[in-house]
């Protein structure tokens, strides 16, 4: 019987020829990632009582949430992680300043097509951009994988999303995925795997595909994937040293649902407070003032995102009422953006530049809102209180272009100032 991409990847990781939908199998991941939560995971690992970790080469830890630590508790949290890394010879440890885990992993060649990446972070779905199954799991599960090298998965149903047509100027992958979340709903892909395909997706860069797969978590997806193609190969060639075997869905694979959208007429989108599926066209949004504009996070903190914003902001100034925060997704992104002059343009326009990290997105550190403030953000969640203050605050999610235009104007807009 024909199989979907996730079925093939799970079968391979379980050492089987094929698996059935709904079946529970034990699988071993190619890599398992965690971040600032690794201290809590190490505590559970100790409770389990395994003398050594399963494989110190396959466990990856990147510190990115509270970076550099703003207080004693968070500093201690990092210290516990460094001690664990030393004690167990964890080979791939990326300390503060290297970048956000979902950026650092592929940049360092850890994500291979056709494999499973487990991550103790809900946006592990990002790695689907490389034809891998990035599957989020919890802390206890991560500790258990550290100990025994495997955990259980239920083989999910797959939803296929076919996207066609050229995007209009000023419309980006972020607008596409926000639109899809609005259509499909916050739980529309719960427990399911999502395959993105169609000519629009084929034309997308790796960075744009990462935005799609990252936000498929906000439809509830277990994994969101784009099949391996030449774009993937070109990107990986410069970074991956291991051999890999790309997998793809069979032509007549069985899907639970197939959605097809032509995107030629799509305009810029915004997810309004306090749910990610509360999506509108920006042209239908009433006048909305903003106090903070955030460019960055695992969703949109990459080089092309900074470029889009830098070009919009060149020679202009951020509105006096706005704090414009720029968080490059990694050290590598920051260095490239420096060389190419994007950082200079952004900072000259009024950006506050931060260390590569993701703190403000979840109110972990930096960029906290005050009561009654609004934020326009390139991040992935707009839940009430998400950015550290719940009292009459509102978070609006949009593309880097919309964030840049809005930072200049002081209200949400897609128009050139």
């Amino acid at each position: 019987m024909a199989q979907t991409l996730i079925e093939k990847i799970i079968a391979k990781a379980a050492g089987r020829n094929r698996v059935q939908k709904g079946e529970i199998v034990f699988v071993s991941p190619h890599r398992i990632l965690s971040h600032d939560n690794s201290a809590a995971i190490s505590k559970i690992f100790k409770q389990i009582g395994a003398p050594v970790v399963w494989d110190p080469k396959r466990i990856i830890i990147a510190l990115d949430h509270a970076v550099p630590p703003p207080d004693e508790r968070k500093a201690l949290n990092h210290k516990i992680i460094r001690e664990f890394v030393q004690e167990h010879n964890i080979e791939h440890f990326y300390d503060c300043g290297t970048g956000i885990c979902h950026q650092v992993l592929p940049e360092n060649g850890h994500v291979l097509p056709g494999t499973i990446i487990f991550g103790s972070d809900s946006h592990t779905t990002t790695h689907g951009a490389f034809g891998a199954a990035g599957i989020p799991i919890g802390r206890t599960e991560t500790a258990s994988v550290w100990a025994i090298g495997k955990t259980w998965l239920k083989v999910p149903e797959t939803i296929k999303i076919i996207l066609t047509g050229h995007l209009k100027k000023g419309v980006y992958a972020k607008d596409v995925i926000l639109f899809l979340i609005g259509q499909i709903g916050a739980s529309g892909a719960n427990y399911k795997s999502v395959e993105f395909s169609g000519d629009t997706v084929s034309r997308m860069s790796i960075s744009e595909r990462m935005t799609l797969c990252n936000l498929s978590a906000e439809m509830g997806a277990k994994a969101g994937m784009v099949a391996f193609d030449e774009t993937t190969r070109d990107w990986l060639d410069k970074r991956v040293r291991e051999d890999y075997e790309p997998l793809s869905a069979d032509d007549n694979a069985e899907y639970e649902k197939i959605f097809e959208y032509n995107l030629e007429e799509l305009g810029p989108q915004v997810a309004c407070p306090h749910k990610v599926d509360n999506v509108r066209s920006i042209k239908d949004l009433p006048h909305t003032n903003i106090d903070v504009a955030l460019l960055g996070t695992c969703t949109n903190g990459r080089l092309d995102d900074l470029k889009i914003a830098a070009e919009i902001m060149e020679g202009k100034s951020v509105a006096p009422s706005v704090r414009f925060l720029v968080y490059p997704a990694s050290k590598s992104v920051l260095l490239d953006a420096l060389r190419l002059g994007y950082i200079e343009k952004l900072v000259t326009a009024g950006a506050q530049l931060a260390v590569p990290s993701c703190g403000p997105c979840l109110g972990a550190y930096g960029g906290i809102l005050a009561p009654e403030e609004n934020c326009i953000s390139t991040a992935n969640r707009n839940f009430k209180g998400r950015m550290g203050c719940k009292q009459d605050t509102g978070i609006y999610l949009a593309s880097p272009a919309t964030v840049a235009h809005s930072a200049l104007a002081g209200h949400i807009t897609t128009e050139q100032k």
Binding site: I24, N37, R73, R139, T140, I148, K275
Partner: protein
Amino acid sequence: MKLEGRVWIFKDDDINTDLIYPGKYTYEPLSNKEQAAHAMEDFDPHFSKEVEKHDILVTGNNFGCGSSREQAVTCLKHSGVDAIIASSFARLFYRNAINSALAVVECPQLVEFFFEKIEKTGSACTDFLISIDLSKGRIFSESREFSFPSWDDLAVQIFESGGLVEFTKQKLSGR
């Protein structure tokens, strides 16, 4: 295995992990008691003070959506909650709950029955009692009986071991 307790109704869909356990506490090593004190803080600030041992939550669709943070499960467990009955759960919350041995039951009919009993959306502490028979897939309340699909065998094994930590210990020692 049977669970019995008083009902809290959280009349809403998509109650996310930030409402259950705010992100600002997620990367601080808090004790069980401290975690419990923040349970549902941004949804109902009174909950952590009024919740009692063995209470049962009844809520709508996609409960626990958002972050993978396990404290969203453990803060409720440490606050005394024995079970959550929802129309549906977000995947990560569901897995985390089984792995932490907190009973999670999907029963939309029961949720609808209780949602009709209160007017406003939001949180309500009630005098209703619920009895859940986990092995038989039955719930009894207000002279009514509801059924829910039984768990997968592996989920039952993990739950009965007392959670994934104990389950993994058993695997390690070859039991």
